[in-house]
Symmetry: C2
Subunit: 307 residues, 2 copies
């Protein structure tokens, strides 16, 4: 993995009313943190089983992580992707030699398609998040972040992290439990996909109502995973929610002050810091993960020029 940098800017601190440190996983290999978990998961596959390859489903960041890890390990990879996935994500999969099967997200079930193909090929299905090896791999970003903060003489009072299925945040929470136990950790989600916020509030897994839309394609999942929620329920403090417009504003702020390209689903944590932090976090030291930068140029240009 690349040790991704931690970025900051006084203007962001002023907007957030806190000292904000941004770990830019958008600068990770394949443009998101997903390569961490995918690599760890594929490394667990015994050599004798590698020839049949792997199958995964993803809107594109896990897809690219799996395709890259498979290439590095000499395995074939097939990814089931929604037909409306960002083109840059499909291109990334192909560039690493991954095969793509597109599906219609309104009428088809990606889990079923992926399971059927995996069975036909004798390939191993690589889950997106609800898997201990995936969770452990994603958590390496949390270990790294805590080490970087310690090197800078800083202690995170709060960590904000976007959550879809929760593979990243549950791994990061396990990591920080070990190396930064004083840090309180919160999920951030788009409006209409606030399953983590509601699940953490109620203490049980809550699903999203179907039919909602969001530009945050990377983190649109129906509900928390069983493993990820079991971890999250114990270690997470609560959930914040941001609008698509707030995510787009965070993209503009990252462009302007951090010189970093981020995708909408990758900067919800930054959006939460910019929209007005809860009183308990204000004035403190807030770490946040920017999780991906795979965004199409036309969409990005639209966001930059629309305030």
């Amino acid at each position: 993995m690349r040790r991704t940098p931690v970025l900051r800017h006084d203007a962001i601190d002023a907007l957030a009313g806190a000292r904000v440190f941004v770990k830019a996983e958008s600068l990770q290999e394949t443009g998101s943190f997903k390569i961490r978990g995918a690599t760890n998961r594929l490394l667990q596959i015994p050599a004798a089983q590698r020839a049949a390859g792997v199958v995964a489903f993803s809107s594109g960041n896990h897809a690219q992580g799996v395709a890259r890890a498979a290439r590095l390990l000499g395995m074939p990879a097939l990814i089931v992707m929604p037909a409306d996935a960002p083109a840059v994500k499909a291109d990334g999969v192909r560039a690493d030699g991954g095969e793509i099967v597109f599906y219609d997200p309104d009428t088809e079930n990606r889990e079923e398609i992926a399971a059927r193909i995996a069975a036909e090929r004798g390939a191993i299905l690589v889950p997106s998040y609800d898997d201990f090896d995936i969770i452990a791999g994603q958590g390496s970003s949390g270990l790294e972040f805590a080490a970087q903060m310690a090197e800078a003489g800083e202690t995170m009072d709060t960590l904000l992290c976007g959550a879809g299925g929760g593979g990243l945040i549950s791994g990061v929470a396990l990591a920080l439990e070990g190396v930064s136990p004083q840090t309180r950790i919160w999920t951030v989600e788009p409006e209409g996909y606030d399953d983590w916020a509601r699940s953490l509030a109620s203490g049980r897994i809550e699903a999203n109502a179907p039919g909602r839309r969001s530009v945050c394609d990377a983190i649109l999942t129906p509900k928390p995973g069983v493993l990820t929620f079991t971890i999250g329920k114990r270690l997470l403090s609560g959930g914040l929610v941001v609008s698509d417009e707030e995510a787009k504003n965070a993209m503009r702020v990252a462009f302007r002050y951090l010189k970093t390209v981020v995708e909408p689903g990758g900067c919800v944590a930054l959006a939460a810091a910019l929209r007005g932090l809860p009183e308990s976090m204000r004035g403190g030291t807030v770490g946040l993960l920017v999780t991906g930068g795979n965004v199409d140029a036309d969409f990005y240009a639209d966001v930059l020029t629309t305030a």
Copy 2:
């Protein structure tokens, strides 16, 4: 200073026909390497002289570096900037408390304006590049780059670096002479501003013809400096030239594969790698500096959506 990351992508290697490592000084504090030299220069000012402050002239990156360093040292700063400087650069100066005097680049002489104001105030004029403390400060990026390559087990055969006045490349050349003497170093400039390429070829300082235009505002200087050329003549191998369109293409490539916002004058070295490297560099390990990311959103959006 921030230790800026070294980025890379297989797609860029394939386009360049070489192994390309990109040090992203666009991710430096103030969005360019200029803070390195400005800080080193201002630190040399004796405490008794600091109250009168500093004056500088710059299209914006040196301006922001001087304004930030002055703020950190508690000194007033006034910057003479062209009226057509990118708004993001003027805003950056103001955010650090810098005062700005704009001039008309077609009819006024910025050196004269800055010298007059400095004399009136008893302030110290901070040169942009032709100064040993500035050169030494910029050179710290070369020391860092060489250390990062060594940590990765890599050796740079070639280093490409944009050149305006040459403060950065002469400092980097001095640094690499010490720690990576096998590296051959080349300047990169925009068409119409190829004073370094011609000066290195002829062995004496050659000036640019007046009246040319380029989008690469950060590196449009009339000719190499006396100090920087004295160093460069001894340590540089030659100069490459890129068009504005090639610089814009490099901005798109950095967006897509490196997830990094770069300004046109900041990515001429990447542009040179993408346009077709000289035969002697192909297949080798090429380090390059991306030097700045201070670009207005409207211009950036235009570049992204125009192929």
